[in-house]
Amino acid sequence: MAMTKASPHSGDGLAVRLRGVSKSFYGVRANDSVDFDLAWGEVHTLLGENGAGKSTLCSILAGLYRPDSGEFLFDGEPQAFKTPKDAFAAGIGMVYQHFRLVANLTVAENLALGHGDLGVRISQKDLEARAAALGERYGLPVDPSALVWQLSVGEQQRVEILKLLYRDARVLILDEPTAVLTPQEAEQLFKTMRQMAAEGRSVIFVSHKLHEVIAVSDRVTVLRAGKSVGAVATADASPKDLARMMVGRDLELPTREARDSYGDAVLAVKNMSVLGDRGNEAVHDVSFEVRSGEVVGVAGVSGNGQRELAYGLVGLRPPTAGTVLLDGDDVTATSVLDHIEKGFAYVPQSRLGMGLGPGLTTEDNLGLKAFRNPPFSIGPWLKAAAFKEQGATLIDRYDIRGVRPGLPIRLLSGGNLQKALIAREVTLEPKVLIARSPTRGLDVGATEAVRNHVLSERDRGTAVLLISEDLDELLALSDRLVVMFDGRIVGEMPAEDATAENLGLLMGGTVSEAG
């Protein structure tokens, strides 16, 4: 593809110029008079807390949302996109935070979707050949005949990026692309991004990981509570500076304080096996213990049985073999409700859907585990006042922002959803807390808060099982680490012996600690 196309800039050489762009939802100003300049050939990061309005701004640029007011110049020309199609036609494409691929179609079909220059008739073979050729040209290999739901998230993202390149997008918007990637996949993505910029395209990048932001982008625009607070060149900024611009104060991500004695084993898992979605054995013969006051981190590349491990432990999917003991009591075959009553708390990976009821209010969600007992219900009657009171306390104590009375919780930003979820789980004072990727997609402030909550549970004497793909987080919080690969535990070590390198090797399945 000839890349000369991206160069003919007009006057100011800016790809995008926004002035005073605003957008409200239900009375909340998601974007409040935002100014933003994007130069051709740069990688430009949008930085901001959860709910600061980054995704909203991206969606305006991509034609998905229409701004309420403001000026939008693309390559010097005023724009008023009505649909994503218009934005595509102009040369702006976006990879959304929640992917927009049709799960039941093949990779090739997804790439071809809505593409104007196909004839009326299409053949699978043609589409697949085109897709393969495209993947090759950009060094983003994909299996064109695979159905999208069969792909890993990393592969799905590759398809999303190819979708943009297929249409020769000149401005690529990537909304939190690295939240779902392994470090290696992220590295690969950064190479692709730099290559795009070198070709004269512009890339808008959103991430909460400050070291990434500094490594990959040329400039950063910071949003705070919907307003743009300024742009800086990354060459002149440290992660600390960026964090301060973002939250308006200094912050430090907490790490655990080592301790030399732990309580008794609270959670003991012996030879547990759990089936996966397709009837395969996703967890195979796994044994470990978590003691009171201890965080055990489970490291592993996504899809190696972590989800089924959690399901097996909390009773969502009864193990096919082995036992799960809580304080010596066998809870293996009991119901989810039994697990809750015995003291299991669970923070699942999918916040909306599994963790929270998207259509319920925040207060109702916060009471969703305790509602069977007084004071939340007396006999068959729910006590609205108790929900309200607890809601107000927890919203305050856990700093859950953006709550609007009577409106469904799904309108909150990711970080605030996560805080609500943790608040609900922890307020029941569980004996065991099982958390999966609890800070995925959260801003530094929210990450700090969530990490603090996890650590204070540990210090309270809870046995914490932290299942995560984020090695930084595992190393910062865990007292002990186990590594999962292909449904098995392939390594176990105290935090003192763990490094990103030796964990990474175990996670890749290339070495295993025999025995």
Partner: protein, 320 residues
Amino acid sequence: MNDWWWVSTLAFGIGLGTPLVFATLGEIITERAGILNLGVQGTMLVGAVAGFWATFNTGGGFGLFLGVIAAVIAGALISIIHAVLSITLRVSQIVSGLALTLFGTGLASFLGKAGADPLVGEPSRATFQPILEGGIAEWPLVGPLIFGHDILVYVGVLAAVATSYYLFHTRMGLSLRSVGEDPASAESAGINVARVRYIHVMVGGALSGLGGAYFALKIVPTWQDDPIGAAGWIAIALVILSSWRPYRALFVAYAFGFAQFLELRLQTLGEPWNSIPSTLLAMIPFILAIVAMIVVASGKRARQLGAPAALAIPYFREQR
């Protein structure tokens, strides 16, 4: 003849199944766009009255042709009601579809009785006849089964072939499927979701209208208040039985037509067959329809059977 009674039963079954073929294909197309249209019954009735009226006022082969055109247009137009309510106004598709059925039923009945010379009780001035008389149409077995039908039976088969090709081998078909599976993704790939949905609700209505007209111009060629029985409801059930696939729709529609004819036939066969109460047999389609509704309502089971993932869910672009 008696040895061959089941051949003629099968042949009649194909005839009785043909309006179901049209309506089922129509509803498959609509549902593939993610819109559940429970207005099929009403749409078929409106198609029936329009087709009957157009033919009644002209007559002859050309009259039949006009009848078909009128039915198709009437079906497409009446289904715009459902399109506006469910796509633009995002009303519950269940409610909107039921409203369409009530409206269509009333409208057809009213039009049949309106005016100085009401249609009701009048025989059709023309009906569809087999294309071939004698010759290969009289050959044993294949004659009645394959060559003995009127033109719309063959049009029905062609419609199934065309629908299948359209869905799986054309660009519009790909857009259609993506809109039914995941409208948000389709839209961000540059597809105009509302337009795709409007078009296919109307195409679905057109096919339902045609199915209705086949009743009035062939199966029961005298205008009456209730010319189509419960065919619209059966078609909705058949969509599920066909797993939203056109060729299977052809098959299940014929099977259903065959079962209906068998029910009539049993009465004439003597002991012990005629001792089965006909009301019991007449219930079968409704039981089937209820089971089908339950399946659609239970999202997960429907997905396993191949229902479009976004079926019956209103789409709102700025929704979180």
